[in-house]
Amino acid sequence: MAKRYGMVIDLKRCVGCQTCALVCKLENHQPLGLWWNRVLTIGGPEIDTPFGTYPDLQMSFLPIACQHCEDPPCVEVCPVGAAYKREDGLVLINWETCIGCRYCIVACPYGVRVYNWRSTKEQEIPDFQVGAPEVPARPLGVGEKCTFCVHRVDKGLQPACIPCPSRARFFGDLNDPNSEVSKLIKEKGGYQLKSELGTNPSVFYLPAKR
């Protein structure tokens, strides 16, 4: 059977530290203001705040990036075929073809696509390209998002965000029942976000609650 790459994120271990957001930012050299990968606080109105009233409180975190859906709405709506899904499940964007219409941003049920709106007058630090040299520079005005670090996966490496300081992130072949990700999903009740939409994401979450 063909591979279907997927990711498992253990919310019980996740402490919202934002390292996965930073490593993605560096590896894929995202400019100021753009984040392909974000970590949201499930709690109060601000980052790192709980809901409830002291001392009856709850808080958890949700790292969120492209869910690499089996049936990706972003691909369906793309009028120029720039958004596409590979055999191995990676949902990608051809930045040469993208016309920046932003249908995909509207269509994505997970709010994870970002758009590079403007050129900056402010200095980027540093002023040369950092991160992975294989990741192409994006022109202005295209949709951008997590690629599962396709440049790494194609070399047999794991995405850059997998070395998580909480050891909460896992990557592998969902079609292989013996892969670490398949086992985690099965044994620890992995679930998908907004599964009712039928998008069938390749990112699974393990529950925050014990």
């Binding site: 019980k12 402490v15 919202g16 934002q18 390292t19 957001a21 930073l22 490593v23 930012k25 560096l26 400019p31 100021l32 203001g33 753009l34 984040w35 949201l40 606080t41 499930i42 709690g43 109060g44 109105p45 601000e46 980052i47 790192d48 705040t49 709980p50 409830g52 002291y54 001392p55 709850q58 808080m59 958890s60 969120i64 709405p73 709506v77 509207v106 269509a107 049920p109 997970y110 709106w117 403007r118 900056t120 402010e122 630090i125 540093p126 002023d127 040369f128 390209q129 950092v130 991160g131 040299p133 520079a137 994006r138 202005l140 070395p163 300081p165 909480s166 976000l193 907004k194 939409l197």
Partner: protein, 791 residues
């Protein structure tokens, strides 16, 4: 694939719903708050032909970590820091800060060349000078001060900016200070809790905890006064392993930390009352006979008799003149006092006995009597913790073993923190939770740090046998201000942001600095401290030199020179080498970094242990402490008795008792004027004062804020995001309010380490006092009362 209009609308509606939720979840909203006008732009293409070089590196600020890095260099430029492999791969990790070195290294605000002050101190008027002029000036000033006063009048101040053996806080600066016979400003930070632990367990040694990986073996972990996911993020995964292994996590903290959100039990305790809570747990453990009787008899002073007349242990010579001074115990078989090591005895654990007319109690009896005063019912008025919660936590700790106490420096920030350290060590002593896998009263603290590393050698730091005078940094205040015990007239500051690190900033700036004839600061940036210097020197970043890094895990790491020094930056070693040569000590400052490293590693014990510089250079890291690292496995303690001394003959407080914080306590009349306890928790978006200007981190954590409970905010008419003033008699700071239910009502938090330019006005470091407890000489940053008003 075609999409029907109906399906598109359905999906789009779903998207809108998620977006609303998503952006309501905090981080996204916070992102949109105070970032300066969004600056989006195209990333630039790298040159595809560029050859990428990957070298060994280490991230080495004072987060206790020291993560191994792989440092990527293209076209001579640092382009990426990546998690690197350590010899013991369990410790492989990197965090958000370790990923931002490209920004820290190439920040346009890096100091580029030496400068001298041309305006008033702090005015910000500078003139570029050459290194020659800088070194000439510094040498002349230090020599002049030495001649006019004494060499001790020059104080070398450092904190924990870097854990490199050559260029870190215990490196070239100490070598120079020792040769110059100056003053070395020491400690006053993070030292009262360790002191208390040492008093009970023997010491000092900063390696008294089981190594961090051992956390995973614990069935119970009490994270106490530690915001582990912020301050020691690198250790959290071991705690998470313990939980995955079926262990329980108990978090004791006044505030609902991220760690608390993961806990089985979160104990909300009144700030500064932890000693009383620990003693209440002692009471539960004793009353319910949950202690390890054999451990107490064999390895602690529990059975030793204590004379009521003088509080000293009863000695054999007290009973029979002229014989040994062996400790005495009460033998229940013979019904008399006998030396503790007599054979075939049945020592009494409890009771009061008359020995030659001397009334004596067992030390355990005294502890039981003391703990009775802090029963859960009685201590509740102090701690605010319900009896059943104390009972539950004490039961878990004493019965679900092995158990680890992972305490943090939140406990250390109070006037009587030494007593807290002793009380926590007693919990371990009672339950035998020490010296075993999964059991330690000092979780996560066994490493190879600069100060306790096997690489620490006088050959490097004390080459001439002369020494600097080590003076506690709080006493350095007196030396500058009052000339007591002797005058200090110059500060040489390396690896340290003095005015943001030490307390009572207004005193530093207005009472201390004006009394100094000379201040020289070496740093990467124009910090709040550098602003007050007479000469500022540009330091290299960690990746611009060779070094060996020893941090808070069991390895030492090789810091390879990844890139050439930027601009005119120089390492501490180069700076002190120039200065040493200028000041006539050239024969002691004639080696290269490589040669000094060889000198440090030239040791038979190291070679026998397989620790060589060549091996380190090829492998990048070497584990240098035994595996597993579990101190006290032999149950030998470096105390006078060789046992765990929960009762101390020599200390004023024979047993730890609870003393309230001297300022931040409800009984204090000052609390009517300043009713809020102000703490300065660590933040994962900085390491102390470092990374304050790193753009990616500031996108996530854009500005300083005071965290306040909504109920306290409401009383003051403060809404989320309002600008408020936080003040007391010592100073004030204007900043934004962040309303959070995580904050215990009656408390506020301003995370430490922000720099003055980030605040709207003032600085949070103005608020904290330089009170000193003569027994501990430790900064009590949380022993602080403030009021908050809308600005």
């Amino acid at each position: 694939m075609r999409i029907s209009r109906r399906r598109f609308l359905k999906l789009a509606a779903g998207a809108a719903a998620v977006s609303a939720t998503v952006y309501g979840f905090g981080s996204a909203r916070a992102l949109s708050l105070p970032i300066p006008p969004a600056t989006f732009r195209t990333s630039q293409a790298g040159s595809p032909q560029a050859v990428e070089k990957i070298v060994h590196g280490a991230c080495a600020p004072n987060c206790w970590s020291g993560c191994k890095l792989l440092v990527h260099v293209r076209d001579g430029k640092l382009v990426k820091t990546e998690m690197g492999p350590l010899q013991d791969t369990r410790y492989d990790r990197i965090c958000l800060r370790g990923l931002t070195h490209v920004q820290r290294t190439y920040h346009p605000d890096r100091l580029q060349y030496p400068m001298k002050r041309v305006g008033e101190r702090g005015e910000g008027k500078w003139q570029r000078i050459s290194w020659d002029e800088a070194i000439d000036t510094i040498a002349a000033k230090l020599t002049g001060i030495k001649e006019k006063y004494d060499s001790k009048a020059v104080c070398f101040v450092t904190t924990s900016g870097y854990y490199g053996i050559l260029n870190g806080f215990y490196g070239a600066n100490v070598r120079f200070a020792n040769m110059f016979q100056g003053t070395y400003g020491s400690a006053a930070l993070d030292s009262a809790m360790p002191l208390g632990m040492f008093q009970v367990l023997g010491g000092p040694s900063h390696n008294q905890g089981n190594e961090a990986a051992d956390l995973a073996n614990a069935k119970t972990i009490i994270v106490w006064g530690s915001n582990v996911t912020e301050s020691n993020l690198q250790n959290w995964h071991f705690v998470a392993d313990a939980i995955d292994n079926g262990g329980k996590l108990i978090v004791i903290n006044p505030n609902f930390t991220i760690g608390a959100s993961k806990a089985d039990i979160w104990v909300s305790v009144r700030p500064g009352s932890d000693t009383a809570l620990a003693l209440a747990m002692v009471d539960v453990i004793i009353k319910n006979t949950l202690y390890d009787r054999q451990f107490l008899l064999d390895h602690t002073v529990a059975p030793f008799l204590v004379r009521q007349d003088n509080g000293q242990f009863l000695r054999e010579k007290d009973v029979v003149q002229g014989v040994s001074d062996k400790y005495m115990v009460w033998d229940q078989a013979s019904n008399k006092a006998v030396p503790f090591d007599a054979s075939g005895l049945t020592p009494a654990l409890t009771g009061t006995y008359s020995v030659k007319g001397m009334q004596s109690d067992t030390a355990f009896q005294l502890l039981s009597d003391l703990a009775e005063q802090y029963s859960p019912e009685k201590s509740k008025t102090i701690t605010g913790v319900p009896e059943n919660v104390v009972e539950k936590v004490a039961h878990e700790y004493a019965t679900s073993k092995p158990a680890t106490i992972y305490w943090g420096f939140g406990l250390d920030r109070y006037h009587h923190a030494d007593l807290t350290g002793r009380a926590l060590a007693i919990l371990a002593a009672l339950t035998g939770n020490i010296g075993k896998p999964g059991a330690t009263p000092w979780g996560g603290f066994g490493g190879a740090t600069l100060v306790s590393s096997p690489l620490r050698t006088g050959k490097w730091t004390n080459p001439t046998g002369t020494s600097a005078t080590f003076l506690n940094n709080l006493l350095v205040y007196d030396a500058i201000e009052k000339g007591e015990p002797y005058p200090i007239k110059a500060l040489v500051v390396t690896n340290c942001n003095y005015v943001i690190t030490f307390p009572n900033q207004n005193k530093i700036l207005h009472d201390l600095f004006p009394k100094l004839d000379f201040i020289v600061v070496a740093d990467l940036f124009m910090t709040d401290t550098a602003k007050y210097a007479d000469i500022v020197l540009p330091s290299t970043s960690w990746f611009e030199n060779e070094d060996v890094v020893a941090s808070m895990h069991p390895h030492v790491m090789f810091q390879e020179k990844a890139i050439e020094p930027l601009c005119e930056c120089k390492s501490d070693l180069e700076i002190f080498t120039l200065l040493g040569n200028k000041m006539g000590a050239g024969e002691q400052w004639n080696k290269t970094a490589e040669e000094y490293m060889q000198l440090i590693f030239d040791d038979q014990k190291l070679r026998d242990a397989g620790i060589t510089l060549e091996k380190l250079k090829s492998e990048g890291s070497l584990r240098v402490v035994p595996s597993p690292y579990i101190p006290f496995q032999d149950l030998k303690f470096k105390t006078p008795s060789g046992r765990i001394e929960f009762y101390s003959e020599k200390l004023n407080e024979k047993l730890p008792v609870f003393h309230p914080p001297i300022e931040a306590w409800p009984d204090n009349p000052l609390a009517t004027k300043y009713p809020l306890v102000c703490i300065q928790a660590g933040s994962r978006f900085r390491v102390h004062t470092q990374y304050f200007n790193t753009p990616w981190l500031r996108e996530l954590d854009p500005r300083p804020f005071v965290e306040i409970n909504p109920s306290d905010a409401k009383l003051r008419g403060v809404n989320n995001g309002d600008v408020v003033e936080v003040y007391n008699d010592r100073g004030n700071v204007k900043l934004h309010a962040k309303l959070s239910e995580a904050l215990r009502p009656g408390m506020v938090n301003i995370s430490r380490g922000c720099t003055t330019s980030q605040f709207i006005q003032g600085n949070s470091q103005q608020l904290v006092a330089d009170h000193r407890n003569p027994d501990t000489l430790n900064c009590s940053f949380f022993d602080t009362l403030v009021e908050v008003k809308k600005a």
